[in-house]
Symmetry: C2
Subunit: 400 residues, 2 copies
Amino acid sequence: MEERTPRRPRIADVAREAGVSKTAVSFAFNSPDRLAPETASRILVVAESLGYRPHPVARMLTQRSTHTIGVLTPQALSVIFSNPFFGAFSEGVALAAEQEGYALHFISPLHGSLARAMGRATVDGVVAIGLSATHPEVEQIRAAGLPLVMVDSSALPDQPGIEIDDAGGARAAAEHLLGLGHTTFLVAGVEPPTPGAQLEPDGVMGRRLGGYLGALGARGIELPAHAICVGPASIEGGMAVMRRAWEDGLRPTAVLAMSDAMAIGVLRAARELGMRVPEDISVVGFDDIDISQHTNPPLTTVHQPIRQKGESAVRLLLSVIERRDPRPEQLRLETRLIIRGSTGPAPRRRQEVVEARNQAIGRHAGASHPSARRKRTRGTSDAIPATDAGPGRTSDGPDT
Amino acid sequence: MEERTPRRPRIADVAREAGVSKTAVSFAFNSPDRLAPETASRILVVAESLGYRPHPVARMLTQRSTHTIGVLTPQALSVIFSNPFFGAFSEGVALAAEQEGYALHFISPLHGSLARAMGRATVDGVVAIGLSATHPEVEQIRAAGLPLVMVDSSALPDQPGIEIDDAGGARAAAEHLLGLGHTTFLVAGVEPPTPGAQLEPDGVMGRRLGGYLGALGARGIELPAHAICVGPASIEGGMAVMRRAWEDGLRPTAVLAMSDAMAIGVLRAARELGMRVPEDISVVGFDDIDISQHTNPPLTTVHQPIRQKGESAVRLLLSVIERRDPRPEQLRLETRLIIRGSTGPAPRRRQEVVEARNQAIGRHAGASHPSARRKRTRGTSDAIPATDAGPGRTSDGPDT
DNA sequence: CCGGTTTGCTAAACCGGTTTTGTAACCAGC
DNA sequence: GCTGGTTACAAAACCGGTTTAGCAAACCGG
């Protein structure tokens, strides 16, 4: 005989119970100074006793603001969350959002449609990561009048966005290898989401490729088309690329990988093919995700400020949302090469690579230039047990 | 002289422009079969030309559903996203949510208050991870009539929740070490969020500790209180615990760490203190996060199905939200010990540990029992370059 | 004591949709 | 020719709040 459904109390219930108007209840919660102190507190007491909480959706509707920012990714979240790059980026996003009192809403394709997901999303603005500028949803979002900050998409000129110096970082990576005497390269690229499509020159990967090719070209080295292999941006993808290249008869002494995950896969595949890193083959990654300093050998890679990218994207977005800064801004963050243990001087003769392979396990000393190796920055490479760098291992220890 | 602010078109605008009622426009979008075909398409054309999209917040309000599930964490998201455990958990959550067409909304303390954040959150239900059952917000959520699934909190009996067999996993870890002859242990625990508080026996860490102590007690080994050290659940936390224990004069031959991150920190600190793993000291982690198979040596740890936990939590929540299953369910997932390279037989004499330390770098052969070591499962331990396990390294290769 | 301001609160409009109820037109059947 | 049932749409109520306009009483200086 009790009440059937203990319906959620509404503002009218509180008003009736307290003997005041809805307006007064609203005031009690939002601007108590507009009421007599004892009235306000009486209302709050009644509200508390009824278990009343203002309905957040109704509130959003009238205030025309959700205090939520959306993080848009063209891929499914279930694949995205396993990506360390995205984890670090989200960390930055979350940090800025929390400081500013905004909640986070992740937007990913709903039943395959990003547009549908965007239609459902209740956000004040969107940070889009990895979305190409030509993606149709970009126009949809802009048409909806929703503030948008694009990360890693060569943005339209009148559009706020965050980029990094992909080309410069890639150039530095290639020049580093050139300086070590390498002449035979393999580029391990991240394949575009739509299979069969070419690397779009405007995208992140296009810019990185441009950097590689530019540096190589400046030394008169032309990279044959078949030395650019693409695969998924994962460890498995990197392994697949390296194995395929090997089976195709390619014998690079240096690999330029467009992501750290791929570089790690290349590292592993190269070792399984009997090569030593960096004695027989050098590998450079891109991104400098956290685990890259823990691989064996520690990965030489192009660092980009991933967390800061997320943070800056949110701050830029909020400056638009809150109309502090009417003019959209473009931010460009720097990259820098971090030299660790996965790169070394090119083998003297090409033949060495093959020899090394046939020798399988047996390590022979003196295959490379110890003096040059010793000069390399160790950085934090011996900071964690995952790496064997540091005195006593790797090359200058007792076991070489 | 153009329109000042190109206001977002409302349903009334479309209705007027198309010469129909608001109802008809609503029908055109939601149940077109209730209109004459040509009327419906005419309305849609007009809507398209005006750039009209139904306002998601208004829609939520009338439909009394947000099609969004909340992920609640008592810590700040910016610390949470850097946690590989949480990344894997989120992956599972996202997978299930995407399949069911739900969006994801992360709820973390707003200006330090979880209650405030909950008040703002527009979700149909909540998955709470790492929230103690006695946390005041639990009652708030239940009072609000919001479906709630608690993960890793010894839940109230009438409350749906997901747990794992923490005690059983911990027991297996301890028994493994006991079977290897260890008698001197250190427990590296995860400190409670509120400093100074004791490990609550009902929490995850309490259950794990119970498992450790139970197994030890069954062999007549009593763990002194000072051999239980706590710190943050991070690599740094694990390092700190190990160093502090060493400085306090503890000389354990085996460490039971309550998280993999801590175990990795212990690994590193132990090595820096001059110990070899597993010859001088064995380490067991808990969770089996992805990188644990890539440490050096690969980490022996208690596996728990992290992704599945996230997935199951969402499915359980949705069964409550959509009232498919009126009776809340409790799910208990299994754990299992994964034996990799970080555990080995106890050193014959305690003295060996000290010797090993004083010898610093020089590796001496035969410090442990090769026969027993060879029996250990290698698993995927040689699957990635980060580990040097596999023929030719670690112990049975040429460099021991 | 009077006109004007301030205080404390309310009634009504509004946010932008969905859903229930209503009604006019058309058609079939007896 | 009237009843009863569809069909196609409209009017109005509603979701649960906020906000604007307004009103009565109290205050206040002259």
